[in-house]
């Protein structure tokens, strides 16, 4: 067990190193000068030089990379002399266009994305698991067929179509839902939910299909298995068999899919946040890419990758915890 964990953690470190290095290189492969782009349209040569200095673009790429990674763990000093700036860990660099440390900008965006993703994930999982299980239980009935039809539609709906349609119908035509926005949950729970309802609905509509189908087929498969037949033969009530045994046995693959789904939702955040004008990580990275704001893109890619990698890791651990048949190796 311990060996497994250590091995996996080492692999995670390797993965993230490669991801960060790859992203870093990507921008250096670009023929255009990032300092000039960041500096803007009416930029004096001296100023481009200043930005270049600040970003450390004049040094060899390996040095820059090592300094950058060092900054994340230990913090570092940006610039020199009177212009030195302390950037404490985790230091993802300094965004010249926003005049702020990248970590501050990211810290501001993170709760927005987390609210979107976690809220949508809860709704999506609730809907998909319950509809999948019910459909399996009522196999062949109208409920089952309806569920299948809904998953087929949901699975084919593009997220960038659902979002605008919801906005168009509920915000601009019927005017019954509030403008999507982010209010911290603790400030005003009602405003929080009101501002998030359309993003949640969008992600849930698009995302629930896969999980619902999985949970339905998993359920049906479990119901066919020997131990369920045995339980039934032993005279256990149908309902007890269903809820206690079947549901529990189906939980494993569902947990996996749900865990991975959370990572997927973070990816979906790019377009969801843009459509609804929410200032989360997704929109932040999209804007940063457009402005070729290297430090911010680096930070968002790294953070997203870290989430996915650790998410998978945790899911695997959970998997082992839920299902004793899985042996970690």
């Amino acid at each position: 067990m311990l060996r497994f964990v250590v091995r996996r953690l080492l692999l995670i470190v390797l993965t993230l190193t490669v991801v960060s290095f790859g992203t870093f290189m990507l921008f250096f492969a670009a023929p255009s000068d990032p300092a000039r782009i960041l500096c803007g349209t009416r930029c004096q040569p001296a100023q481009i030089e200043a930005v270049r200095d600040g970003l450390g673009l004049d040094r060899p790429i390996m040095t820059q990379y090592v300094e950058y990674m060092g900054g994340i763990f230990a913090g570092r000093t940006l610039g020199e002399g009177d212009w030195a700036k302390d950037c404490s860990a985790p230091c993802f660099g300094y965004s010249y266009t926003q005049n702020q440390e990248v970590s501050e900008i990211v810290a501001r965006a993170l709760p927005v994305s987390a609210s979107v993703a976690i809220g949508a994930w809860i709704i999506q999982t609730l809907i998909s698991v319950s509809s999948g299980v019910i459909a399996a239980r009522k196999r062949g009935t109208a409920v089952d067929r309806g569920t299948i039809a809904a998953t087929l539609i949901g699975g084919a709906l593009p997220i960038y179509f659902v979002g605008p349609m919801l906005l168009l119908i509920f915000r601009y035509q019927l005017e019954i839902l509030p403008q999507p926005s982010y209010t911290p949950l603790l400030d005003d729970p009602l405003a929080f939910a009101g501002g998030m309802i359309m993003p949640w609905a969008t992600l849930a509509i698009v995302g629930f299909a896969f999980d619902a189908r999985l949970s339905r087929s998993q359920m049906l498969e479990t119901l066919d298995e020997d131990f369920i037949r045995t339980s039934r033969a032993k005279g256990l009530k149908d309902r007890v068999v269903f809820w206690r045994h079947a549901l529990r046995a189906s939980a494993t693959p569902l947990a996996t899919s749900a865990g991975l789904g959370l990572g997927g939702l973070l990816g979906g955040a790019v377009v969801t946040e843009s459509i609804f004008g929410l200032n989360g990580l997704g929109k932040l990275s999209l804007d940063a890419i457009t402005a070729r704001n290297l430090p911010i893109v680096m930070a968002t890619v790294l953070i997203a990758a870290t989430f996915v990698v650790f998410g998978t890791f945790i899911v695997d651990m959970l998997y082992a915890a839920i299902d004793p048949r899985v042996r970690l190796s």
């Binding site: 993965t15 990507l26 084919a156 179509f161 990572g263 790019v270 377009v271 459509i275 998978t312």
Partner: protein, 339 residues
């Protein structure tokens, strides 16, 4: 979203039974001696969904690839401008410009015909998606089979690469890489032909597209490689490549075929998604995702909902049709599936 990157396949449902039917399932063999492929084909032909969606797909292909013919019959192509049919702020006159010669209206701006934009955009989308699906499946199958068969460090490395690919936020990386790739490969002061732009998009999609199939194939191959017939081949002196290509891959064709059939709608959806985010074949070539983006921009304008519904609906129907057909293929290949 995850479903789009990775063909929707539930590894649990495609057990190798399908493949080994010929040796295990004596009943089927004894009736007419049909191969599992023939059996699947018969099941597919009997499936009503498969027949309906199959016909629809033929219709879609005809609509998309018959564009030159439709242009001749309909009288306009996707590129022609109609400034006379626009008002002073370039909004189409009448109801989104619908008329006898423009059945679905015209676009705000230069007044291009919406119907022809849809058909031509569909052609772009299908071409890219089908090529991607073929290449991604082939590359994924070969890499997956290699990893699964060779095992050891090769497997470990490939498996790790797959993990790295899956950990990357695909959209962000694609968005960041695309303009840079364009500059590096096709930068410079000349108009970019449609083919090159299409290749760029295909390339971006392929970088990540092979991963799903590779993982699936790897799993299938691992379960195959210890079988007797492989050992027999090895004993008779067959090399690794021979075994991979001649012994193993032919035996995992069913899940790979399913993976392919699900990859097509996956790529259609994802290609449109990228085009929506301005990673596409680019102006002036019609592109479904870009059309949706345009429609979203105009949705609050006069009758703005119309183009949004038409363009978004087209992508939806394309994906749905291919998904349903893919489902039917899966069912035909794996009659025990519970879907």
């Amino acid at each position: 979203m995850t479903g789009m990157i990775e063909p929707i396949t539930d590894p649990g449902s495609i057990e190798p039974e399908v493949v080994v039917t010929e040796t295990v399932d004596g009943k089927q063999q004894s009736v007419h001696g049909r191969s599992p492929g023939q059996m699947a084909w018969i099941r597919l032909k009997r499936d009503r969904t498969a027949r309906v969606t199959g016909a629809l797909i033929l219709g879609i292909l005809l609509a998309a690839y018959g564009v030159p013919l439709w242009t001749a019959i309909y009288g306009t192509d996707a590129y022609a401008h109609n400034p006379d049919l626009l008002d002073r702020s370039s909004v189409p006159l009448g109801f989104v410009g619908v008329s006898g010669s423009h059945w679905l209206g015209i676009l705000q701006g230069n007044g291009e015909d919406v119907l022809m934009q849809l058909l031509t955009g569909m052609r772009t989308s299908l071409t890219i998606s089908i090529i991607c699906a073929i290449l991604a499946t082939a590359i994924g199958a070969i890499i997956g089979a290699t990893a699964g068969f060779l095992g050891g460090w090769v497997d470990a490395v490939i498996n790790w690469i797959i993990d790295v690919m899956l950990s990357l936020p695909f959209l962000i990386v694609a968005l960041a890489a695309f303009p840079i790739m364009q500059e590096v490969f096709f930068g410079g002061p000349s108009e970019r032909p449609l083919i090159l732009s299409g290749l760029m998009v295909t390339g971006i999609l392929l970088i990540f597209g092979w991963v799903g199939t590779a993982r699936l194939t790897r799993g299938q191959v691992i379960s195959l490689r210890e079988r007797e017939f492989i050992e027999a081949a090895r004993a008779s002196g067959a090399g690794n490549w021979h075994i991979i290509f001649k012994q193993i891959l032919p035996n995992v064709w069913a899940p790979i075929l399913v993976s392919f059939s699900m990859a097509v709608p996956g790529f259609v959806g994802f290609q449109a998604y990228l085009a929506f985010l301005n990673i596409g074949v680019g102006h002036p070539h019609p592109d479904l995702g870009r059309l949706v983006n345009f429609a979203v921009g105009k949705m609050q304008g006069l009758n703005g909902w119309f183009l949004l519904v038409i363009s978004g609906g087209t992508i939806f129907l394309l994906v749905l049709t291919f998904n349903l057909f893919g489902d039917a293929v899966r069912d035909a290949l794996n009659p025990k599936s519970n879907r």
